[in-house]
Symmetry: C2
Subunit: 325 residues, 2 copies
């Protein structure tokens, strides 16, 4: 089943996603970006692969299609404004916007607006990704499927930021002094986004209260000197970020360390219950590749989610394509 895709956001992730969609046999029929350098350019030229039409600046100018892949910004308020014209016209939305993974608690008004637009258009709006979207929220839920009763749940990631893009190393504060790190935190908007939304999704799945949930953010201080292509980290300076979130009862605990030179990177889920389960994805999923992949795999099943603002909990089993022999 081949989809007509509108790629919204033509940065590195968006371009990679559109190219992969075409490689899978889908058609890219439209592209949206606010970057003046791209406006009016041939989409085929921007993507470097077969595609139809030119880059337009607003969702309203985009042609009709099956799914809009929205990879623009992290700010949910702005993403909502981008999604609504698509949803109202009956174009489903799959987005990697972190807070869209479970926006009902953090931004109830925006969530209702999205839900209404999606129902009006008879299509689904879904936020997905690897984190948030899978490792710390959807996967723990799925792993609980054969469990009789869950007493507590811990999920954590250790990510070697040194193996990732420069922007990510910057995002986690690699190379900052502890004082600079503290200033960034105080300033707000720093750190990995969507962390609380992962907790909200888990609480929604398990029927737990989100009131009183807590979160923390602190630096990982480097015990050795490390130089990557993008950052230089001295002993005693910041290698990256350590974030955690917990529900009020402390029975759900999420933890994320993303730092340059991380030892034993892994994605781990531990469920204390009947039975006890510990699952470790050795090395961990690779953020950029996996986010791109899960968004495309979700787009291929998005029609089956039913109309409205949906979450990964509503989706049928997503599945990767098998390589041709």
């Amino acid at each position: 089943m081949s989809l007509d895709i509108i790629q919204v956001g033509l940065g590195p992730i968006g371009v990679a996603m559109a190219r992969k969609a075409v490689a899978r046999g889908h058609r890219v029929v439209g592209g949206v970006d606010t970057n003046p350098a791209l406006l009016g350019k041939s989409l085929a030229e921007v993507l470097g692969c077969p595609a139809r039409g030119h880059v337009v600046g607003t969702p309203e100018e985009a042609p009709a299609g099956d799914v809009a892949l929205v990879t623009t910004v992290s700010d949910l308020g702005r993403v909502v404004a981008t999604c609504i014209p698509f949803l109202r016209r009956g174009v489903a939305v799959v987005s990697t916007c972190e807070e869209l993974i479970y926006p009902w608690k953090s931004l109830p008004t925006e969530s209702r607006t999205l839900d209404e637009a999606a129902r009006m258009g008879g299509v689904a709006c879904l936020g997905t990704g690897i984190n948030p979207g899978f490792v710390l929220d959807y996967l723990p839920v799925i792993l609980s499927a054969p469990v009789e009763e869950v007493r507590s749940l811990r999920a954590w990631r250790v990510v070697d930021a040194g193996l990732r893009r420069g922007p990510l190393q910057k995002k986690v504060g690699a190379g900052l002094t502890p004082a600079e790190f503290a200033a960034r935190v105080a300033q707000g908007g720093f750190g990995h986004r969507g962390f609380m939304e992962s907790l909200h999704l888990l609480c929604a799945a398990f029927g737990l209260d989100t009131a009183g949930a807590t979160t923390f953010i602190e630096p990982v201080i480097s015990e050795r000197a490390i130089a990557t292509e993008h950052a230089t980290v001295a002993i005693g300076s910041v290698a990256g970020i350590h974030q955690g979130a917990s529900d009020a009862s402390g029975r759900i605990q999420l933890d994320l360390k993303m730092y340059v030179g991380a030892l034993n990177p892994a994605d781990v889920v531990e469920i204390e219950g009947t039975p006890r389960i510990r699952v470790e994805v050795q090395g961990g999923y690779h953020g950029d590749i996996a986010t791109c992949a899960i968004a495309l795999n979700a787009a291929e099943k998005i029609r089956r989610a039913g109309p409205g603002l949906r979450t990964m909990l509503d989706m049928p089993a997503l599945c990767a394509p098998f390589a041709r022999e």
Copy 2:
């Protein structure tokens, strides 16, 4: 959301499941079993927990309800006959019958009959369990969700049959001589059921051809003397069973060892793809507990699967209940 449940099959698994359903706040409103010793008995007495009515001998005599939990026999032909009256009357079915996990290839006629009855009643019919139903089929699909492309997939279980019920130890041939084991295999119907159906479900998810799929069954010969409560295994005799299945291209490989005294029991999924993934559930899921749990967790979401003969691939995310604080 509390369900009215009809428990069909009142053997050890069925009784355990019904009791757990009641402990979760569901109501058991009917019970069906062909055992003359149970017929007409108070269901509350048979289950040892609050329940309504008496044990009846046929699905037609059972009262109305939301879901029939069918834990009778492994033979799909007989299970189909049991399910149809429920489905036609609008009672959804969740069953642990192994071959119901993906019956479309093995038994297309029976599958169509079930599908038609379920659509007529506007309800779903689902086969689930831990194996088949989760470890070797659903879980590998879910783990592929953030994968760009799968090149090959291996999933295997090593189960210590010595830690399980007597019937299971007997089922895997513990204590037989190699010649007796070979005779049982030649006789047919021996070994773990639903193995090929797990492969069929994977092939359906990944869009692979099932033609030319192969399977094998061989004994695990014991290298030491082991005595359990239920079986005595001498050196050189059969400790249990080793089964495998593969698609024609060999890119999907399933493997199951269930034997008394198994070393390092575990459930493992390996996906060769972008990225490469290896997931190990240490110790593995416990068959009986997990099958019971996943069936109840599926029953609670079965309305959302839509009408017809469904598979785990169609289900939204299943989820265990969280313990009360």
